[in-house]
């Protein structure tokens, strides 16, 4: 790798690492996680709907 390219890459890695200076999970990702969990919990599901691993196959028409 050329020196200039290597410097740019190392700066990117340092910038990424810096996002986590306050903990393992950033506040943005924490918020996204909570919103996604809420979205899934509020989605109405019939009791006949199984998890995808049990329900794979070709649909009956």
């Amino acid at each position: 790798m050329e020196a200039e390219q290597q410097d740019e890459y190392l700066a990117f890695i340092a910038q990424e690492k810096n996002k986590y200076k306050d903990g393992y999970v950033t506040s943005e990702e924490r918020q996204s996680f909570e919103q996604e969990r809420l979205l899934l919990r509020s989605f109405r599901l019939s009791n006949d709907i199984m998890p995808i691993s049990a329900a794979r196959g070709v649909l009956a028409r």
Binding site: M1, E2, Q5, Q6, Y9, F12, E16, K17, K19, Y20, Y24, V25, T26, E29, R30, S32, F33, Q35, E36, R37, L39, L40, R41, F43, L45, I49, M50, P51, I52, S53, A55, R56, V58, L59, R61
Partner: protein, 457 residues
């Protein structure tokens, strides 16, 4: 007499020359090794190059062919494998510092199949850490070196685009095949879930991982898919029975086929992508294809949430033992997702899987009214820098386990970055995508275009 450089041949062209003994596997392998030696310093597509083993395998293939034991279109064809795919005796570090010197004792099922077909492993290609988002490698896009090649299969896409392998293996858990292929002007299929065995590949998510190949044409995609597909008892998700002859689908008549155009969600952010899609629709119309607007499922947002939760939970479960003892060796972005995975309850995980069932059934019903769906492959061109871009246009078909393929459909003039069109099909409907994509490539030249970098010595 061959007038083009050997690294410029498509897989099918090289295969035909090898079959007729006008090209030897040794010549072809040497051409790719020379190309790697001269270009990889700029592209950084390879985590490891196994030149000596490749030369030995090429010589063995040459002897077999000269003795009349030709083994099919992959015999003597050099390829690369993403560095989460286990290779016997060859370091497989998965782009991570967790176990950087890991050397598998056995090959992954896909490597076994390619070995049996006589293909020649050139080495291992770079990946984001364990094929997650984050832990990006330094790999560059050959079309524009200041831009990402995409990911997670970064090196696999860049290697083919730079003429450093005839084809490469990659994986997709969200958008890691289709997105980098589109960013690099390549043709690639993510087949139906279960078409190709994942045995011997580091899992990112058991219920979402797919394997595919980066190639330059639809014909090459069909050849590799035919070699890789099939049941494997070591991966219980693989489909039962024998795999179809995908190359036979290439010449299927596409006149009268109906392509669905989604009414929402797949709206590109870059106007050049929309322009290219409109031009592709014109070409397909001239080829006799019809178009119909389709309404996507109401639960797109919930499906994306379920997809992300599944990746976190299954990733955390898969890495649990290593994470207990080596947490500090994981990169920060992957560690973030694993930590969130450990927080997720079993009830929430199962709810996500039930949402996926609803979404998958809704997606499958779309194909009652159309033969395939047409969208742009990506919302943007390849980004400048190292972030690998958005997989959002690819996620719905990964989540539902339905086949999808990207085919080059344009080039943005100022950045010189390629644009891909995504075709998605019904369950087990790879044949339709291959037929449409092949006819499109017979009518256009986008797949023949190469980066300015490509032609340099």
């Amino acid at each position: 007499m061959i007038s083009t450089q050997l690294y410029e041949l498509t897989l099918a062209e090289a295969g035909a020359l090898i079959r007729s003994k006008r090209l030897s596997p040794t010549e072809l392998t040497e051409a790719y090794i020379e190309r790697i030696e001269s270009k990889n310093n700029h592209i950084q597509a390879w985590a490891a190059v196994t030149a000596d083993a490749a030369r030995k395998a090429a010589l063995a293939a040459e002897k077999q062919i000269m003795n009349g034991h030709y083994n099919g279109p992959l015999h003597g064809i050099p390829y690369g494998a993403k560095d989460i795919i286990c290779t016997e005796g060859v370091r497989t570090a998965a782009g991570s510092s967790v176990d950087p010197e890991y050397v598998p004792a056995t090959n992954a099922a896909v490597i076994e199949r390619l070995d049996s077909a006589g293909a020649i492993l050139l080495g291992k290609t770079t990946t984001t850490e364990y094929a997650y988002q984050g832990g990006e490698p330094p790999t560059r896009n050959p079309w524009n070196l200041s831009h990402t090649p995409g990911g997670s299969s970064s090196g696999s896409a860049a290697a083919v685009a730079a003429g450093m392998a005839s084809f490469t293996l990659g994986t997709q858990t969200f958008g890691s095949l289709i997105r980098p292929a589109a960013y690099n002007g390549l043709t690639c299929m993510k087949p139906t879930f279960g078409r190709i065995s994942r045995f011997g590949v580091f899992y990112a998510s058991w219920s979402l991982d797919h394997i595919g190949t980066f190639t330059r044409t639809v014909e090459d995609t069909a050849i590799t898919l035919e070699a890789l597909a099939g049941h494997d008892s070591r991966d219980p998700s693989t489909l039962p029975g024998a795999a179809p002859f995908f190359t036979q689908a290439l010449d299927t008549d596409i006149r009268g086929m109906v392509l669905g155009l989604p009414d929402s969600f797949f709206v590109a952010e870059d106007p050049a992508i929309t322009e290219a899609l409109n031009a592709a629709i014109q070409v397909l119309t001239q080829l006799g294809v019809q178009f119909k607007k389709i309404k996507l499922p109401d639960c797109m947002d919930e499906a994306i949430a379920a997809h992300r939760m599944t990746m976190r939970a299954e990733g955390a479960a898969y890495h649990m033992d290593k994470y207990e003892t080596h947490a500090d060796k994981y990169g920060p972005s992957m560690r973030e997702q694993l930590e969130l995975g450990y927080e997720l309850s079993a009830v929430d995980y199962l709810r996500a899987q039930r949402v996926r069932t609803v979404f998958r059934n809704d997606m499958m019903r779309l194909f009652y009214e159309v033969d395939a769906i047409l969208t742009p492959s990506t919302p943007t061109l390849a980004l400048a820098g190292y972030k690998t871009g958005s997989p959002m246009f690819n996620g719905p078909f990964t989540n539902a386990g339905l086949p999808a393929m990207t085919v080059p459909m344009g080039l943005e003039p100022s950045s010189q970055l390629p644009i891909g069109m995504q075709l998605a099909g019904p369950l087990l409907g790879e044949d339709k995508l291959l037929a449409i994509g092949h006819r499109f490539q017979q009518a256009t030249n986008w797949h023949r275009m190469t980066a300015a970098f490509y032609g340099t010595k």
